[in-house]
């Protein structure tokens, strides 16, 4: 969850040594610097999470404490190497991460990397669905609000956007579940698909893990409609949260560009109001929108944890909550590292897109 503060720009510019500014610096150099910045970002988060989780003790005591006699516990701690100095363990962990070895979960003894790919696909599906809802709802409504600024539609939409933001995703999800699943009975209560569909989809050859994609590939229309009916409520719940942010963002930025001279010039040449808003004013407003969209990925992932728990959507967030309850810190670390990588890479891509659209960004 971020605040409603508009477009906190990336501080990459502050990090570039001033000499680069004077030299002009090409796009290639900018991309390189931004790319190199990915690594410290990930490293900082990994370091923070590692030490924070170890402050409370070693993972085995956390997971098994009380269930094993002390001497057996000691034996297992020693066997796993958790009684060595923390720094040694830290560098060993970094080394393992660098080679793609995330370890094995303590509670259900699975390879972390395998767990991440299985549940990551579910979270990806949810995030894509939610993003589609957010864009479909947020951008047109934002344009309407900007065009009808200070009139009734604008007032209604702005209050709606704030209401979307003020409603916690899990409360919104709970209400929708109550109305559409329990009272009206239109949509399933929870889960990603019915049991039969789930079985038929996992039986597929080389499943992507994204259910609607798998259902489409197999040409199974019954499975597809089942998957879709399960996907609606979580996608709308998570999507509306982000839609509110997009709405505000599009509104603010389009209002900014609508006041520009070239829009006025377009209007005097007889360009339609619709075209003025959707083309002339909207396109230049895209850069801050894209930047914030990147930041919204983090919000989306945070919201996904809550949405998945609400709808028992078996993705990373749902598993994260489970692993946290089981105090399986190896699994938790794995999930956090993956999310850190996703966030860092998204921010990198967003910065590059912004630089491609607007040369001023890269000096």
């Amino acid at each position: 969850m971020t605040t409603l503060i508009d477009a906190p720009p990336s501080d990459a510019d502050a990090l570039l040594p001033p000499t680069k500014k004077q030299a002009g610096g090409g796009l290639g150099q900018y991309i390189l610097v931004r790319f190199l910045l990915i690594f410290p970002t990930i490293l900082i988060l990994v370091t923070m999470v590692f030490f924070l989780m170890r402050v409370t003790g070693d993972p085995i005591t956390a997971a098994m404490g009380g269930r094993l006699p002390p001497d057996q516990l000691q034996e297992r701690i020693h066997a796993a190497g958790y009684d060595r100095p923390l720094l040694v363990q830290y560098f060993e962990y970094l080394g393992q991460l660098a080679t793609g070895n995330f370890g094995t979960t303590l509670s259900d003894n699975r390879k972390v990397i395998e767990m991440l790919t299985t549940y990551g696909a579910a979270t990806l599906e949810l995030a894509i669905n939610a993003l589609i809802v957010a864009l479909l709802v947020g951008i047109p409504l934002g344009m309407i609000a900007a065009h009808r600024r200070d009139h009734l539609p604008d007032a209604v939409l702005r209050i709606l956007a704030i209401l979307f933001y003020a409603t916690p995703v899990f409360f919104a999800g709970m209400l929708m579940k109550l109305v559409f699943s329990v009272w009206l009975g239109w949509l399933p209560v929870a889960g990603r698909a019915g049991t039969r569909t789930e079985l038929s989809l996992t039986a597929l050859e080389a499943p992507t893990g994204i259910y609607w994609l798998d259902a489409l590939r197999s040409g199974n229309t019954a499975a597809f409609s089942d998957v879709m009916s399960h996907a609606v409520l979580p996608a709308v719940t998570l999507g509306l949260l982000t839609a509110g942010v997009f709405l505000r963002l599009v509104r603010t930025n389009v209002i900014g560009t609508l006041g520009k001279d070239y829009v006025e010039a377009g209007r005097s040449r007889g360009v339609s109001e619709f075209r003025l808003v959707t083309k002339h004013a909207y396109k230049p407003a895209l850069i801050p929108i894209i930047t914030v969209m990147g930041l919204q990925i983090a919000v989306l992932l945070g919201g996904a944890v809550l949405t998945e728990t609400t709808f028992e959507w078996k993705g990373l967030g749902f598993q994260l909550a489970n692993y946290l309850t089981a105090r399986d810190f190896v699994a938790v670390q794995g999930i956090v590292v993956l999310l850190a990588v996703i966030v860092a890479v998204t921010n990198f891509i967003v910065d590059i897109i912004a630089a491609l659209i607007d040369p001023r960004v890269r000096y």
Partner: protein, 345 residues
């Protein structure tokens, strides 16, 4: 607070002290819908504050009370009768828990925001003023934390701090500290950007020439000027603090029901009820969250818009006099007294 006074710039030194207070000055600047939103926000927030302060008087039962003189409370009883908003699966009175929840929320907001302002402002001042490698490192760290899903970070911190214990104070501190870690980067960014801007101002130069120490320049000259945007971040962060607290509670990392009433935790327990059509256990704590966040956000939003001359609503001096519509009456330039935009720190 007549219409004439609204044209005064915020920083007008001749305006009375009361009129220069953040919210009051914003109220005077506002018109139409913006004033309406600000007022609604203030009313909602006011009721929230009053409820929190008067919780012991308002709540019919204690937040952890399971029985009274007539015996144990029934579980999952529909609203009405002795329990106006019904009872939960555990036998708690929903209304009482909603009311007591305001206290928990208020305490967490205060502790979290005070802690993060304290840490964020100091770090921002030092980083922006001293610059150099310290600044670079702090910026990278703050960016990394800022980019990460805040709720996940809050969960990790909550585990570390509370480690399973669930006393009232421990729970509130854990929740507040987790929220703090998430917020420090935001305060840090804003204050740092302002500090860098102010560092080049002539009055800082002159203070240096006179021989003021760095600490004095930071604390007296820059701090006073750099903190103008804080009321805005404060209100926005307060609402986010509520959402984070509720999120933590919903995932089961909040405060146990026996030590305090917490809306997120109640929603967590209510999730299973929804499937069987029991709506009152989840609806009311949820509405309490929406109420509080809405109030704080409306105040923060209005302040944000009023600080930004592009977004500030304009009084229509002569209605429909200009046929071109709103764009034609756009103010030409920002007055020198207008506050800096938060969007580009």
């Amino acid at each position: 607070m007549t219409a004439e006074t609204t044209l005064e710039p915020v920083t007008n030194p001749r305006a009375s002290f009361v009129r220069r207070l953040p919210v009051v000055s914003h109220f005077n600047k506002s018109v139409g819908l913006q004033r309406f939103m600000l007022v609604v926000g203030l009313v909602l927030t006011g009721i929230f504050l009053l409820t929190a302060l008067a919780a012991p008087l308002l709540a019919p039962y204690g937040f952890a009370q399971l029985s009274d003189a007539d015996g144990s409370f029934p579980t999952q009883q529909a609203p009405g009768g002795k329990h106006l908003l019904g009872t939960t699966v555990g036998g708690y009175d929903v209304l009482s828990r909603v009311i007591w929840g305001t206290q928990t929320a208020l305490m967490v907001i205060i502790v979290a925001v005070v802690l993060s302002i304290f840490a964020g402002v100091i770090l921002g001042l030092v980083s922006g003023y001293i610059g150099g490698w310290l600044d670079r490192v702090l910026v990278v760290v703050a960016d990394a934390i800022y980019a990460f899903p805040s709720l996940l970070l809050a969960i990790v911190i909550a585990i570390v701090i509370s480690g399973g214990q669930s006393s009232l104070l421990g729970g509130i501190l854990a929740a507040a500290a987790s929220i703090t870690v998430v917020f420090i980067p935001q305060y840090f960014r804003v204050i740092r950007a302002e500090t860098i801007r102010l560092k080049a101002e002539p009055f800082v130069e002159s203070a240096k020439v006179v021989g003021a120490s760095n600490v004095r320049i930071m604390s007296r000259h820059i701090f006073r000027n750099a903190t103008r945007t804080l009321p805005l971040i404060f209100t926005l962060n307060a609402s986010e603090a509520i959402l984070t607290l509720a999120g933590l509670g919903f995932l089961g990392f909040g405060i146990e029901p026996s030590s305090a009433a917490e809306w997120g935790f109640d929603l967590n327990k209510a999730l299973a009820d929804v499937t069987s059509g029991i709506w009152w256990t989840g609806l009311f704590p949820g509405l309490a969250i929406v109420w509080t966040v809405l109030g704080l956000t409306l105040v923060g939003e209005s302040i944000n818009d009023l600080n930004d001359p592009r977004l500030r609503g304009r009084r229509r001096t002569s209605r429909k006099a200009v046929p071109a519509g709103p764009a034609a009456t756009e103010p030409a330039a920002d007055g020198p007294g207008t506050e800096t935009e938060l969007s580009n720190p």
